[in-house]
């Protein structure tokens, strides 16, 4: 039991430390909090009741609290396409990624690849032989030296000078044969138990049949590898030459770390910066991006990372005209859509509820069950049916059969913005009126009969009954539910996305906005469907939704008296 706890702690804290090191601060903090709470609950006997809630707590923290924190944080960053990495990752890439190197000279280094063959098929066990200015060097399989997760950023290999027939590499002896000979003629290298046969060389026509395997080796091991040549103090790397073939060159890294004196706020301080090795100028770092200066003095974007941008995402909504226009449209439509859907479905539901709330009506349970079916059918199935079968502009039975039958023209249910909006409201009303009917029915049944009896004595008519007794009493019960329905409809992503994907698209918007998009589907499009993934901006809108929905919910709790209910328990 205690061992389990220790192991658990070790896992959580270890992971937490790792995450914090790699700048995933929120998740790390969540893990720390979780392990602290768990320890507290288990060690402290007075916290016994909490022990039962541990699993629930973990899931809640990880899957609800963390995402909320993450969203709020992301809203203040530029996270998105071009700014995916953390700063550290971006720096590592600049320092190690083979993309950021240059060939020192255009002269390629002669090389030959040897591989162990199994059943006359080459394997991944290989050795390289370089010919540098007439001297032979042996190169081993490069081993990973920089990793991030499962991704290998950099591999490093070593070269060993061939001075005699036998070369010793980390205690293993490799024997070249025939020897001494030039690179072309050496065709076998024998180590203790393995035979390496020649696999590939650039100019050897007999070996070209293995070119495919060689390219596979390049992609697997060599593309991100660096060989250090001690004698010359230079790095050898493989690059695609101008003729499209992979060749080895002496390469040099474009960027390195250096200490520079930086003037900041009038103070001069020593600071670690990234320097371009050719120009010896530090890189410019601005708003989560690294820029280099090219020969013409222009800033060239190198790599971006996730950085704080403060309120910029929120300001963009209001200041950038091409965004604020669509955003306001979407915002207004979101509210209209929620309002009309809820009111319309409530109205229809109420009418049915009043009809069914008649004890003389026989078989009203059957009617009720039949009328509930639109609600009972899984949501997405109904929406897809409406979209594909009924409203489809060319095949849909409404346009193809029913409207012509009534002598009406086909309607652009998806491509005309007003009809598309109407279609959304119709479908949503169809889906939700049974819910409204059910809650109204419940509320109607809770109205005591005595009230009507008293009213009958006073000579009230049917309409007066409804106007002065039924409706006000109904509303007190139903109002909170209507509000929460409003909040639900406000975020009804599934319907909007499945029915029309928010189409038809708005003209002239820089972001992927459509006329029937509501805020949440707009967030989705920004994050997953636009030209780039604008997570930061999308999160900012999510936060706005948070605030709105949270406000509505709190208001709702106040109205429904949920606080009192709990307090009185």
């Amino acid at each position: 039991m205690w061992l389990l706890l220790i192991a658990f702690n070790a896992l959580f804290i270890g992971a937490g430390v790792y995450l914090v090191q790699n700048s995933y601060y929120e998740l790390g903090a969540i893990l720390f909090i979780a392990s602290f709470l768990i320890d507290l609950f288990i060690i402290n006997p007075r916290a016994y009741p909490y022990r039962y809630t541990i699993p629930a707590l973990i899931f809640l923290l990880l899957l609800v609290v963390y995402p909320i924190c993450f969203t709020i944080k992301t809203a203040f960053t530029n996270y998105g396409t071009g700014h995916i990495f953390t700063r550290q990752e971006a720096v590592e890439r600049l320092l190690y990624d083979p993309n950021y190197t240059y060939a020192e000279s255009e002269e390629a280094i002669g090389f030959k690849v040897f591989s162990v063959f199994e059943d006359s098929k080459p394997t991944d066990d290989f050795i390289l032989l370089f010919d540098i200015n007439g001297e032979l060097y042996l190169g081993d399989v490069p081993s990973p030296s920089k990793q991030r997760g499962k991704e290998i950023l950099l591999r490093e290999g070593k070269t060993y000078k061939v001075t005699s027939e036998e070369v010793s590499v980390d205690g293993k002896v490799f024997k070249l044969s025939p020897f001494p000979e030039s690179l072309e003629n050496i065709n076998m290298i024998v180590s203790a138990d393995k035979e390496y046969k020649s696999l590939y060389a650039l100019d050897d026509p007999a070996l070209q049949k293995n070119a495919y395997h060689f390219i596979m080796l390049v992609q697997k091991y060599l593309a991100n590898a660096e060989y250090l040549n001690q004698d010359q103090g230079k790095i050898i790397g493989i690059r695609v030459d101008t003729d499209g073939k992979w060749k080895f060159f002496f390469v040099e890294r474009l960027y390195r770390l250096a200490y520079r004196e930086i003037e900041e706020d009038g103070k001069v301080s020593q600071k670690m910066v990234i320097v371009n090795t050719r120009t010896n100028e530090p890189l410019i770092e601005d708003k989560g991006s690294f820029y280099d200066i090219d020969e013409n003095g222009n800033q060239v974007f190198l790599i971006g990372y996730t950085a704080w941008v403060g309120l910029e995402n929120f300001l963009r909504i209001f200041t950038d005209k091409r965004i604020s226009g669509p955003f306001m449209n979407i915002f207004v439509w979101t509210i209209m859509w929620s309002l009309f859907s809820v009111l319309l479905s409530f109205l229809i539901g109420l009418v049915f509820a009043l009809a069914l709330n008649n004890e003389r009506l026989r078989g009203r349970n059957v009617y009720r069950t039949l009328l509930i079916i639109p609600w009972a059918v899984p949501y997405f199935i109904s929406v897809l049916t409406w979209k594909n079968g009924i409203l489809n502009e060319t095949y849909g039975i409404l346009n193809k059969i029913i409207l012509p039958f009534l002598g009406l023209d086909p309607v652009k249910w998806f491509n005309d913005q007003y009809w598309a909006k109407l279609a959304c409201i119709i479908v949503n009303t169809w889906l939700t009126f049974p819910y409204m009917m059910t809650i109204s029915l419940g509320a109607l049944q809770s109205i005591p009969d005595e009230l009507y009896e008293v009213a009958a004595i006073d000579g009230a008519g049917k309409w007066q009954n409804f106007r002065h007794i039924t409706f006000p009493l109904l509303l007190t019960v139903v109002a909170p539910l209507l509000i929460s329905s409003f909040a639900f409809t406000f975020n009804n992503f599934t319907l909007i996305y499945l029915l029309n994907s928010g189409g038809p698209p708005m003209v002239g918007a820089t972001t992927p906005a459509g006329h029937t998009d509501i805020l949440i589907s707009y967030v989705y499009k920004l994050a997953f469907e636009g030209r780039g993934q604008e997570f930061g901006f999308a999160s900012a809108i999510s936060v706005i939704i948070f605030v709105l929905v949270g406000g509505i919910s709190l208001l709702n709790f106040k109205i429904s008296g949920a606080f009192e209910e709990i307090r009185n328990e």
């Binding site: 009741p49 699993p55 609800v64 963390y66 009617y367 079916i373 899984p378 992503f493 949440i520 709990i566």
Partner: protein
């Protein structure tokens, strides 16, 4: 009394409304069992039903294309067969070949059955050929009688009739059909007995008089008018070009005057002005006047100048020019007055100017006169044109009016012609003995009827007469269907043999060879199987083009015939033809690939596992809230509920990047994995805790207390006493969570990418878009399969769902 009637009315209204409201559901059910391609059909429902869509979804059959593809893969040993052993490969290949042969045999059997049903139909129809003939005749005669009775003859106005007849007949010769049809009327109207072409001519000329009086004269007048109009417009065109020519010339002259001449004049004027200045400085005046030698033409020049001014000032275009000249003249005049002597140089210039300008001016004058003439001419022509047009309009209106008065007569004659046509057809049919001939006759009759009725409706609008004809057309329309049906069936039966024979020989060739091929393939050689390639070609092109297309038409027509044919007893055979052919098509056509079962399985696994874990976690967490006292007990659940009020869809980005991050370290929890998706679904806790806690509260705690007295620990009492007692609510929670997750779309959509990993929700979504969009059968069947259990579960757990929504309604 009113109280009692109301529920009755409510019943009626509900009975009308409920089918309308549930229409999408009805549509799903009816479309899923349709045998035809519902998406292209113009009918809402179809009587041709089958469960084929369900079979395709649940147990897709290895039909002929699938078999060929599988054999191909088996021989070539592509994945997943590359890891199979030889024995297994052989077994499956043998099975496939047998199955293939079985399908060929089945095709033949079914074809024979279809053929015999088809023969039955033909036989049955031929045997009652006479009856059918009689029936056709009866309905045609009925129509004829009806038409004769209801011909809107306008006896009162014989003139109109005459006109109409003349219009119809004058382009026709004596032997034409139209004349034969209308002979009777013609004789009646014209009082001639027409026995020869001469009589015909005479009768026509008699009619012509009447025609000429009303319509004919108008028409000739119109023709004349039109001729005049044509001439007028031709003249207008000529006049126009003339006018333009003159206009051009004037323009060129005025351009010369306004540019070249004007510049000369301006420079002269400037010179004179300069002289004026000099004149004012007296001294130099003498020296200037010395240079000026006396000329002979001083006074006349001024006259010339004035003439020029006069001529020019006629045209407003040269206003500036004449003004400048006027200025010059005033200068010169002033010199004269002061008698300063002659100013030779300006006069010289003026002289030249005059010589230069006067021919231009003469031409201009002539041209201007000409253009005025031309303009007058043009205007006159135009006026004539409008006049003529007005007349034409009037005439046309007159003709239209006359023609309108003729409509009843025209209609009568049209119907008359039509009656004669029908008579002819009837006569033709009466002589028919063979059924085939009858069919072709009826097909042409229905075509005629249809043509007539459409043109009739276009000219005279819909009325009883047209609907009567339409009714007869509908009665006879099955002949059309039948003719296409039998036509296509014959084509199909002719075309079926070749692919069948070919396939048969190919498969027996393959049967001889496959063992060798497989061995070679197992030895690592690259083999190609010619027979299978050819077979695939036959299926993909020969069958589809020659057989499949015919089958679909035959099937459709069989379905139509079932509704339209008046002989119910043939329905069985028609149905059999349809059924057999449908099956043949199912055997031979390639099916679209899908992973429906896998999707359902994915959904069930994900939702099931997540539901079980969630319930377990929640049952634990709910216990202390029900039984113990601790800090946070009051607000704990409320706080959780509040946190979960935030719709989960809002933090999809967070969830996406959480899985992205986790996937780097624990691949099992990465993006595009079902385990990752399951993990994401575990966050749904607050409401379930609330629900379970409520149930725990109803379990009396005395049971636990007594157990604890017996020495049980708290935890033991929990899982030995509370959990078993709370099983009902736990089941409900499992089912509810299961349903919620089964119906979830957003997260599944962003997390899953590979089609094999899709859940049912995403899978169904792909059925409604892209290549599957038109396969309504598959879509609706899949929808119904998913919908049915969920709906039943929902309806049975209504109570909990409603209370759940009233508590945590905001949760998305």
């Amino acid at each position: 009394m009113i109280e009692k009637r109301r529920p009755f009315l409510t019943h009626i209204i509900l009975w009308i409304l409920i089918p309308v409201i549930l229409f999408p559901i009805i549509w799903i059910v009816s479309t899923s069992i349709r045998r035809d391609e519902a998406i292209f059909s113009t009918k809402l429902f179809s009587s041709r039903v089958s469960l084929q869509n369900y079979r395709d979804l649940i147990a897709p059959e290895k039909n002929i294309p699938a078999l060929v593809q599988e054999m191909q893969s088996l021989i070539l040993r592509t994945s997943p067969y590359d890891s199979w052993e030889e024995k297994r490969l052989k077994e499956v290949l043998l099975e496939d070949i047998e199955a293939f042969k079985g399908y060929l045999q089945e095709t033949r059997d079914r074809y024979e059955r279809a053929q015999s049903s088809f023969d039955n139909i033909n036989l049955a129809l031929s045997s009652r050929s006479n009856n059918i003939k009689e029936e056709v005749l009866v309905s045609l005669r009925e129509l004829k009688e009806y038409l004769e009775k209801n011909v809107p003859v306008e006896e009162s106005n014989e003139e109109n009739l005459k006109i109409v007849l003349y219009q119809l007949l004058y382009p026709e010769s004596y032997n034409s059909k139209l004349f034969i049809y209308l002979k009777e009327d013609l004789e009646k109207v014209s009082d001639y007995h027409i026995n020869s072409p001469e009589d015909y001519e005479k009768a026509l000329s008699a009619l012509e008089k009447t025609y000429q009086i009303s319509l004919g004269s108008l028409k000739t007048e119109l023709a004349q008018l039109e001729k005049k109009l044509e001439e007028n417009s031709r003249n207008y065109g000529i006049a126009r070009t003339e006018y333009e020519k003159i206009e051009e010339e004037i323009l060129s002259i005025s351009q010369i005057l306004n540019s070249e001449v004007k510049s000369e004049i301006t420079s002269l004027l400037e010179e004179l002005k300069a002289v004026e200045i000099i004149k004012n400085t007296e001294n130099k005046l003498v020296s200037l006047s010395k240079d000026i030698s006396p000329g002979a033409f001083a006074p006349p020049s001024l006259e010339v100048l004035n003439l020029l001014i006069e001529n020019l000032s006629k045209y407003p275009d040269f206003y500036e020019l004449s003004n400048s000249l006027r200025e010059i003249s005033s200068y010169l005049a002033s010199y004269e007055e002061t008698a300063e002597g002659n100013l030779a140089s300006p006069y010289l210039v003026l002289e030249n100017l005059y010589i230069e300008t006067s021919p231009l001016l003469i031409r201009l004058e002539k041209n201007v006169n000409d253009i005025q003439e031309a303009e007058k001419n043009l205007i006159a022509l135009k006026e004539e044109n409008t006049l003529l047009k007005n007349q034409q309009e009037l005439l046309r209106e007159g003709i239209k009016k006359v023609e309108e008065t003729l409509i009843p007569a025209t209609r009568a004659e049209q119907v008359q012609i039509f009656i004669k046509k029908i008579e002819e057809q009837i006569a033709g049919i009466e002589e028919v003995t063979k059924f085939e001939e009858l069919v072709s006759y009826c097909v042409s009759i229905t075509k005629d009827l249809l043509n007539f009725v459409t043109s009739y409706i276009m000219d005279f609008g819909e009325d009883n007469l047209s609907s009567q004809i339409e009714a007869t057309t509908n009665k006879l329309s099955w002949f059309n269907d039948y003719s296409t049906f039998s036509d296509r069936f014959n084509k199909f039966s002719k075309n079926l043999d070749t692919p069948l024979e070919k396939s048969n020989s190919l498969i027996s060739d393959f049967e001889k060879k496959w063992a060798d091929l497989l061995r070679a393939s197992l030895n690592g050689e690259k083999v190609s199987v010619r027979e299978l390639d050819e077979l695939y070609n036959i299926i993909k092109t020969d069958y589809v083009n020659m057989v499949g297309s015919n089958i679909s038409v035959v099937s459709r027509k069989a379905g139509d015939l079932m509704d339209t044919i008046p002989y119910r007893e043939l329905k069985k055979d028609l149905n059999s033809v349809d059924k057999e052919l449908f099956r043949i098509n199912q055997i031979w056509t390639q099916k679209t690939k899908h992973y429906f079962l896998r999707w359902v399985k994915n959904s069930i696994v994900v939702a099931g596992v997540a539901a079980l874990i969630t319930t377990f976690v929640c049952s634990l967490a709910a216990y202390p809230f029900s039984r113990m006292r601790f800090w946070g007990r009051k607000y704990g659940i409320l706080a959780m509920l509040l946190i979960q009020m935030f719709p989960s869809a809002v933090y999809m980005i967070a969830v996406y990047s959480l899985l992205n991050l986790l996937g780097k370290f624990i691949p099992l929890l990465g993006l595009d994995t079902l385990t990752g998706l399951t993990f994401i679904y575990l966050g749904n806790i607050a409401y379930n805790v609330y629900l379970i806690k409520g149930y725990y509260d109803t379990i009396p705690s005395s049971l636990e207390e007594s157990a604890m007295i017996d020495g049980a620990t708290r935890f033991q009492t929990f899982y030995k006493i509370v959990i078993p007692l709370a099983l009902p609510i736990l089941t409900v929670v499992v089912i509810l969570t299961f349903m919620n997750i089964f119906n979830e779309f957003v997260f599944a959509r962003i997390i899953l990418q590979d089609a094999k990993n899709y859940t049912y929700a995403i899978g169904l979504w792909t059925f409604s878009s892209g290549p599957y969009q038109t396969e309504w059968g598959l879509f609706t069947a899949a929808a119904l399969l998913g919908m049915l259990p969920m709906t039943v579960l929902f309806l049975s757990l209504q109570k909990y769902i409603v209370s759940g929504l009233t508590k945590g309604a905001v949760k998305g």
